[in-house]
């Protein structure tokens, strides 16, 4: 959270508008592409070695479809997230496809505005988390992406209203997701493919929690305009 202090290099107050939402998705696509082999390696160790490739394929498609303005209206943040959600659902497959897809679909329903305020960020993250839990039925501590989304939503809730910059809410969320993902390392998985390994799943970070940390950090990276 050091990044949200008054000395922070970011001097602009963040604006969570449609452009930001599009930048978020493009940044997430680029960051997941860069992390693809690392994510796949985590999944190779405790899963079936496809998480990086799966998510990369999906976010690549999201970026491509966002590039074509004819595909869907982009008047609200929610419309951008809906396009991303349906694209992920039809290109990713596996567990991550429906989970990320549902997360963004639910998030899109509570973000049908041109600009989000801090409570909008909280609503977005809450809806996403609820979507993932509704689909995957994992509780926190089961070594899944829930363990990144849930602390993120909780941190946003805590920070929202305590600062004027909506960016701070996102930064808190992203930092919490990062910490949450790391916390999964020593755990034994009880949901998802890693659970088949039992005790042998301990010692490796959950790939979905890691990708969540990357995707939420991308929302922060997208704050300060295309050049950030």
């Amino acid at each position: 959270m050091g990044r949200s202090g008054p000395d922070d290099g970011a001097t602009l107050v963040s604006v969570l508008d449609v452009d930001w939402a599009e930048r978020w998705m493009h940044t997430a696509a680029a960051d997941v592409a860069a992390a693809r082999d690392d994510l796949t390696e985590l999944d190779r160790l405790i899963g079936d070695g496809d998480h990086g490739v799966n998510l990369d394929r999906g976010l690549r498609a999201v970026a491509e479809r966002l590039g074509d303005p004819a595909i869907a209206p982009r008047e609200t943040v929610g419309q951008v997230l809906r396009l991303a959600a349906t694209t992920l659902m039809s290109t990713v497959g596996g567990a991550a496809g429906p989970l990320y897809g549902t997360a963004l679909l639910r998030a899109s329903k509570v973000t049908d505005r041109a600009v989000l305020d801090a409570s909008g960020v909280v609503a977005l993250l809450d809806a996403a988390l609820e979507g993932i839990v509704a689909r995957g039925k994992a509780a926190s501590g089961e070594k899944t992406m829930v363990d990144a989304w849930q602390p993120a939503a909780e941190a946003a809730e805590r920070v929202a209203g305590t600062t004027d910059d909506v960016g701070d809410t996102w930064r808190a969320a992203a930092d919490a997701a990062e910490a949450g993902a790391r916390a999964t390392i020593p755990w034994v998985a009880t949901k998802g493919r890693a659970s088949y390994l039992g005790e042998r799943s301990a010692g490796t970070e959950d790939p979905g929690a890691r990708s969540t940390a990357i995707v939420l950090a991308a929302a922060v990276r997208a704050l300060q305009g295309p050049g950030a």
Binding site: D37, T40, R44, G47, D48, G49, D50, V53, N54, R57, M89, S90, T91, V92, G93, G94, A95, A96, G97, P98, L99, R135, G136, T190, K191, G192, R193, S195, Y196, L197, G198, R200
Partner: protein, 334 residues
Amino acid sequence: MVRVKKLLDDPAQAVTDSLRGFAQAHADEVTLHEDPTFVVRASGTPPGQVAVISGGGSGHEPLHAGFVGAGMLDAAVPGAVFTSPTADQVAAAIVAADGGAGVLAVVKNYTGDVLNFETGIELAQAEGVEVSSVVVNDDVAVEDSLYTAGRRGVAGTLAVEKIAGAAAARGDDLATVTALAERVVSRVRSMGVALSACTVPHVGRPSFDLADDEVEVGIGIHGEPGRHRVQASGALDITRRLVEPVVEDLDLAAGEKVLLFVNGMGGTPSSELYVVYARARDLLVERGVEVTRSLVGSYVTSLEMQGASVTVLRLDEELTALWDAPVRTTALRW
């Protein structure tokens, strides 16, 4: 990412390339639909007959597309390698396969498969198709519990598809076909071993690392590591490690009749599978269990993984008759 030594071109296109070859080689029997991808019987589901469909990640061939044909599946939905298909693929396949009498979806128990099939089924139901589903979870290597993802679906899936398909072919309605599929699920158990790992094309390195003298017991069919490693020993010892947990989980008693299915993981010669079969049969016979039906071959695979699984299905008269019923698919026919 290393370029792996495989008979493939662009790894991202490998599933599509392979499915096109499959559809060309068997044009009389199957038709490939692209965008979204699924395979149906060339002649379609006979009108008025319940359709049975299945699907899942690719890399398990001939499962599922190789089982499309008379007496088994009406459609198969292949995902990327080891990645369940997407919900829209599932929905499109269900709608295409429906012959007016409803569709049974056979789903292997993996989070991804379950989620995508759930959504796909909802989408198809919204288009007015009657759909039921069964979730296959025959892998005794995985502890079953309410608090976990539960057991995986592995080679036993073949038995569910064969018997459900036979029931549909003889004219059973959707409820009956579904109940028979559930009956198979409740009576079929499997356990597998790997002698070597497999390499997913886009990953470019083996899914796990195994010393020259180790085998991995309790593997699934996604190149995932198993529950434990043991020193490589002979066929008898290894087969015992597969048969015993299966027999115990099924609680098989002397005098019971079973189907014994020895499945190769893709890179194992059939000669070795028959040795495992002989050993497994002996172990069952020792317990007084009667092997009345048999299947040996690489049907539910994990790319080029070396290894095998043993599947036992507790038979009754009806299941035996449905197993024996004619089947004409590219991979299974009698």
